[in-house]
């Protein structure tokens, strides 16, 4: 199950505005890829180009090795979850979910069986919800209906455009967990758009970080985190201390990236600084501490028991092995 998705030199234009430029991307069959980026970076446009909802100006789109660049959305073997859900307000839950099946002219008995299967898949009790109107449902329930509707047609590729951006954090986390389980169980290829890096690592085997219509870096989350291609990746994908490399005597311009969890107090690290603590925040499993030094504010994640408070003058630093240099 699942088909690979590939984009070659894809560009998308809205009038004169180049929304996507020179996109090259390969998603393996059954893989989960997250398109991550700030708003306006083109990630939704990229998803719509895969779905066939936005025409590409140049380049090619392949699904399962077949060129689908000029195929309409209904012939691409995909399914999609929209940011505003796009449930059909004139149909009840059953008919919403059955929509794609009706189009395939399946017999009523089969439609019913599959709708029940899909509703159970997303943990909605069919008996209780089938005949409800969609506006009678809570936000989380509507999400589940939308997901059931997308999954019931057994898509080879499931596209999700920030589907959980408008719901409570708790429900969002639960739905993300369930989506991941469904992804593993059903084996479809998944492309998930979000601006939230926490969601991104929750769902993605791979992350493609986008900026201004281009993919800046693609890789496993740990690759982006440990070996960011540039400053933007380092900052957007996790918290980072970014200081001019010259400050560490590492000549040749560029910047040094140090993750807050690698910053230590005392202990004779390779690079030593002295500064003043300006903020301490309790964050459940660590303390987030901000230290001002040499005109920079350093972030450090410290053990909860660390005896430190605002105003303290501290010696701190980090080891050479924890420093990653980027050009720009």
């Amino acid at each position: 199950m699942g088909l690979s998705v590939e984009l070659k030199d894809v560009a998308v234009k809205y009038g004169d505005f180049l929304a996507l430029k020179n996109i090259n991307l390969h998603v393996e069959a059954g893989e989960g890829l997250v398109l991550l980026g700030p708003s306006g970076s083109g990630k939704s446009t990229l998803l719509r180009a895969v779905a066939g909802l936005t025409p590409v100006a140049s380049g090619r789109v392949y699904i399962g090795g077949n060129d689908v660049t000029y195929l309409p959305p209904d012939r691409r073997k995909i399914s999609m979850l929209f940011q505003d859900l796009a449930l059909f307000p004139h149909l009840n839950v059953f008919e919403n979910v059955a929509f794609g099946l009706r189009l395939r002219h399946l017999p009523d008995e089969e439609v019913r069986k599959r709708v029940v299967w899909a509703l159970e898949l997303v943990r909605l009790d069919p008996a209780q919800f089938m005949s409800r109107r969609v506006h009678q449902l809570s936000g989380g329930q509507q999400q589940r209906v939308a997901l059931a509707r997308a999954l019931v047609v057994e898509p080879e590729v499931l596209l999700l455009d920030e589907p959980f951006s408008h719901i409570d954090l708790d429900i969002k986390n639960r739905l993300l967990g369930e989506l991941k389980i469904l992804h593993n169980k059903l084996g479809f290829t998944l492309i998930y758009v979000t601006h939230d890096r926490f969601e991104a690592v929750e769902i993605g085997d791979k992350v493609a970080l986008m900026k201004a219509g281009e993919i800046v870096q693609v890789g496993k989350p740990v690759e982006l985190y440990k070996r960011p291609k540039n400053r933007f990746v380092a900052e957007f994908f996790g918290e980072a201390n970014i200081i001019p490399a010259s400050l560490l005597g590492a000549g040749r311009g560029g910047y040094a990236v140090v993750r807050p969890e690698d910053v230590v107090i005392g202990n004779n690290p390779t690079y030593k600084f002295r500064g003043q603590v300006i903020d301490v925040t309790f964050l459940w499993h660590y303390l987030k501490v901000e230290i001002q030094s040499n005109g920079h504010i350093f972030k450090a994640y410290l053990d909860l028991e660390t005896p430190i408070s605002v105003g303290d003058a501290v010696d701190f630093g980090f080891d050479a092995k924890d420093v990653y240099l980027v050009e720009e």
Partner: protein
């Protein structure tokens, strides 16, 4: 709140326009005798009005759809241009057109129900168009996109999603055109040559030819009541079909 406003509006219409005429008519005719219209006249009026509404909507829908999706301001202005011309003027210009059609093809439209229908559709299409435009224009794109990715062709997405979602607009357009058409006088008079005789024409004749203000005012009230009832039933039906 809205219910109270509606009731007040309706009551004031009745009080201001019908009751005085009713009283005046009763006085003038000295007790008066109510001259009921024939059943065939009532049927003609209803059918003509309903047909006018249906045909106007059928003609206006594609145009409204186009304008809502990608129409320019100029196209919008041009399509609604017939609104700038008075009804009487439209009726007489159509009369000229009918004469030309008859001379070229031998097809007689003047004095026929088809001719009157044509005139009334010409008159009311812009109203249907404006109403439908407002309804279609505010439809979101995303249910259509959702239908497309679920396997619907462009046509299927329209028939199964957009059309049902625009039904409130269709209902509104129907009410508007149907109510106007029920009381229509000019088109049946000019284009129907008094051969297509409607309720509106009858009331007109009662007032201005027979000077029977009593029957005229009572019958306009009945016409208003019948229109209201018909509208209520139609809207209920259309609503049950969609939202």
């Amino acid at each position: 709140m809205i219910r109270r406003v509606a009731l007040v509006a309706f009551a004031s219409v009745v009080l201001l326009f019908y009751i005085p005429f009713l009283a005046l008519g009763y006085y003038v005719t000295g007790g008066g005798e109510l001259k009921m219209p024939s059943l065939s006249m009532v049927t003609t009026t209803f059918l003509l009005a309903a047909l006018t509404a249906v045909v106007s909507i059928a003609v206006a829908y594609p145009a409204a759809y186009y304008l809502a999706k990608r129409g320019s301001e100029l196209e919008f202005a041009l399509v609604t241009a017939p609104l700038w011309v008075g009804t009487l003027l439209k009726a007489y210009s159509l009369l000229v057109l009918f004469a030309i059609v008859k001379e070229r093809t031998g097809l007689a439209l003047w004095g026929t129900a088809a001719g009157v229908l044509l005139g009334m559709v010409y008159e009311y299409v812009p109203y249907a168009l404006l109403t439908l435009y407002a309804a279609i224009e505010k439809l979101s794109e995303s249910p259509v996109n959702a239908a497309r990715v679920l396997g619907a062709s462009r046509l299927q997405a329209f028939l199964r999603v957009e059309l049902p979602l625009s039904m409130p607009g269709v209902a509104a357009a129907f009410i508007l055109v149907f109510l106007f058409a029920m009381g229509e006088v000019i088109m049946p008079a000019v284009l129907g040559a008094w051969k297509v005789y409607t309720f509106g024409s009858y009331v007109w004749d009662l007032y201005f030819k027979a000077r029977d203000f009593f029957s005229g005012s009572v019958l306009s009230l009945i016409l208003a009541a019948l229109s209201l009832l018909a509208t209520y039933m139609v809207v209920r039906t259309i609503r049950s079909l969609s939202l």
